[in-house]
C-alpha cells in the first residue's frame, strides 16, 4: 500500500487542481515552466529533464501510431461492494473522480499499432484515486490480456499507481491474482507483454502484473517499489538512502530492463515489440 503517498503529495502540492495554471514550477530544478511548453515536450521539464506525471490520453497519443487507436475501456463501472466509508463514502469519492476525469475508473486504453505492431495499450490514470487498483482496473487488465491473446496483439501497460484500492479491500487484493493469471493467456499464444513503470508504481500493482512483463521499462526518476517510503521509514526508523526506490536504483538492483526517457520511449517500445512480435509486423494488421 503506498496510497499514503498520494495524500501526502496532494497536500504539499501548491494550487487547487481545478484552477488552470499557465506556469508550473519544476520540483526538480525549480524553474518556472510554461505549461504549454511542458505539454509540447511530453511533460518533461525542458530545463532539467524532470518527468512530470502525464495524462492518460496524452500517454496513449504519445505511444500509439497515429490514427490507429480505438478505445476498448470505459464500459466497466465500479461498484461499492463493501459500502465502504471512511472520511467520505466510497461511492461519493467515485463520483467525484468520475466527474473530474470523465472516466469510470483509473484506467484508459484500447487497440492500436505501435511501430506497426498490433497492440493493446492500457494506461493507468493517477488522477483517478491515485491510480489505485480496484475491481475495475483488475477487470480491464484481465480483459485487455484476454483480448490481446484472442486477437494476436502485444500487450502494453503503463503503470501509475499507489497500489491496491483500500475501499474494495479483499476484492482489490484479489485483482493482483486475477491480473497476474490473465497474463498467461498471452503466454499460451507467444504474445509479448511490455510493462512501462511511470511515477509512481507501488504496492499491489508493482507486486502483480507490472512486475511480470517480458520487458520492463521505467521512466527516469519514477518511484517504484512495494511498500511506500513512509511505511518503510517507520519500520526501519532511519532515513532512506539517497535515490532509494527510484528507477535508477531499481535498474541497478536488477528489477528493470531499461530506464528510458520519455523522448525515447515510443522508439524503444516499438523496437522491442518489433523484435518480440515479428509476425505482428509482417501481417501489418491493426
Amino acid at each position: 500500500m503506498a496510497l499514503d503517498r498520494l495524500f501526502r503529495r496532494r497536500r504539499t502540492r501548491g494550487g487547487g487542481r481545478d484552477v488552470p495554471e499557465l506556469w508550473l514550477k519544476c520540483p526538480s530544478c525549480e524553474a518556472q515552466v510554461y505549461k504549454k511548453d511542458l505539454e509540447a515536450n511530453f511533460m518533461v521539464c525542458p530545463q532539467c529533464g524532470h518527468h512530470f506525471r502525464m495524462g492518460v490520453r496524452e500517454r496513449v497519443q504519445m505511444l500509439a501510431d497515429e490514427d490507429t487507436f480505438s478505445e476498448t475501456t470505459g464500459r466497466v463501472h465500479p461498484q461499492d461492494p463493501l459500502r465502504f466509508s471512511d472520511t467520505e463514502p466510497y461511492s461519493e469519492r467515485l463520483s467525484r473522480y468520475q466527474q473530474k476525469t470523465g472516466r469510470p475508473d483509473a484506467i484508459y486504453g484500447g487497440t492500436c499499432t505501435i511501430g506497426g505492431v498490433p497492440s493493446l495499450l492500457l494506461a493507468m490514470d493517477y488522477a483517478f484515486a491515485g491510480g489505485s487498483m480496484g475491481s475495475v482496473v483488475g477487470e480491464e487488465i484481465a480483459r485487455g490480456a484476454e483480448q490481446a491473446a484472442a486477437e494476436g496483439r502485444a500487450l502494453v501497460i503503463v503503470a501509475a499507481s499507489g497500489g491496491a484500492r483500500m475501499q474494495e479491500a479483499a476484492l482489490s487484493l484479489m485483482q493482483m491474482a486475477k491480473t497476474t493469471m490473465a497474463l498467461d493467456r498471452l503466454w499460451e499464444k507467444r504474445l509479448p507483454y511490455v510493462s512501462i513503470m511511470s511515477d509512481p508504481t507501488t504496492g499491489g500493482v508493482t507486486a502483480s502484473f507490472a512486475a511480470l512483463a517480458d520487458v520492463i521499462l521505467a521512466e527516469p526518476g519514477a518511484l517504484i517499489g512495494f511498500a511506500g517510503p513512509r511505511v518503510i521509514k517507520q519500520t526501519i526508523r532511519q532515513d532512506l538512502p539517497e535515490g532509494f526506490q527510484r528507477s535508477e536504483f531499481l535498474l541497478q538492483h536488477g528489477m528493470l530492463d531499461r530506464v528510458t526517457p520519455r523522448s525515447e520511449l515510443k522508439a524503444v517500445l516499438a523496437q522491442i515489440l518489433g523484435l518480440l512480435h515479428p509476425e505482428g509486423v509482417r501481417n501489418d494488421g491493426a
Binding site: 499491489g204 507486486a207 536488477g254
Partner: protein, 319 residues
Amino acid sequence: MALEFEQPIIELEARIRELREYADSKDVDLSDEIALLEQKLEKLQKEIFGGLSRWQRVQLARAPGRPTTLDVVEKVFADFIELHGDRTFADDPAIVAGLARFRGKSVVVVGHQKGKTTKENIHRNFGMPHPEGYRKAMRMMDMADRFGFPFVSLIDTPGAYPGVSAEERGQAWVIAQSIQRMGRLRVPAIAVVLGEGGSGGALAIGVGNRVLIMENAWYSVISPESCAAILWRDAAQAEEAAEALKLTAHDLRELGVVDRVVPEPGGGAHRHPDRALRELEAALAEELEGLEALGPGELLADRYRRFRAMGAVKIEPAG
C-alpha cells in the same frame, strides 16, 4: 495475556476447574453444580463469540496460543521434514516449508511462521517474509509440480516485510512471481488462512484452487491499523477500519473471496488448538479429495476461473 472480551469466559472456566479440584480432593459429588456451570459456560461462549465485532476477531487472529504453521505440520500432517533455503540468497525463517504426509499421501506444505516467544518472533521477523521466503515457497511449488504432490499453503502474516533490504531485493517482484507460480501449479492447491492474511504478502501463497479460512482469521488488502492511519489519518481508528474492510471469515465467504470457513471451537482456536486443528484436518481432507479427480489442465482452468471471477463491477453492454 487474555483478551478483554474473553475475561468472563476465563473466569467461569477457572471456577469450574476449582470446583472440580475441590470435589476431587474432598471426594464430594458436585457434578450437578459443575454441569450447571458448564451449561452456563457454553451459553456465555456462544453469546460472546456469536457477537464478536470484526476488530475482536482481528485480536483473536493474533492471539498467542493460536495454531501456527509448525503446529499444523506437526498435528495435521505426518512425517513432516522441513526443507530450507531459496538456493539464491538466504533461508527465511518467516516461511516454513517442507514435505509431509497427509492421510498417507505425500504433500508439499508452505506457511508463514510467527514466533511463540519474543526471541523467536525476532528470529522469524514476526512472520513477515523477505523476498527469500517467497523464493523458498516457489521452490516448493516447483517440487510439488515435479512430483505431482498436492500443495498446501498456510497463511499467517501481518504482511510482507516493508524494509529497505526487502525493497532492494525486489519484494514486489517476488510476490508477483509467487502469485504467478502458484497460479501455474498443475497439482491441487489449497490455501488456508490460519490467522492473519495481510495483503500481498499473504496472497503470494494464497492462489489455491480452494481457499479456506479459520473462523477467527482475517484476510484483507491492508491491516486495520494501516488502513486507519491512511484513510482516517489516525491508527487508533483501527476498530472502525476493521468494520469497513469487512475482513472476517464470514465476510469473505459472502464476498466469494474464500470458499470455506473452518469452524473454531467456542473460545477460539488459541484456547483449543487441538480441536481447531481436527476441524482443519477434516476440511482439508474433504477439499483435497474433491480436487483429486481433476487433471493438471483442469486444475489450471479451475484456478483461473476462481480468481477471474473476483471483483464487483457493472459492465455496460457493448454499444
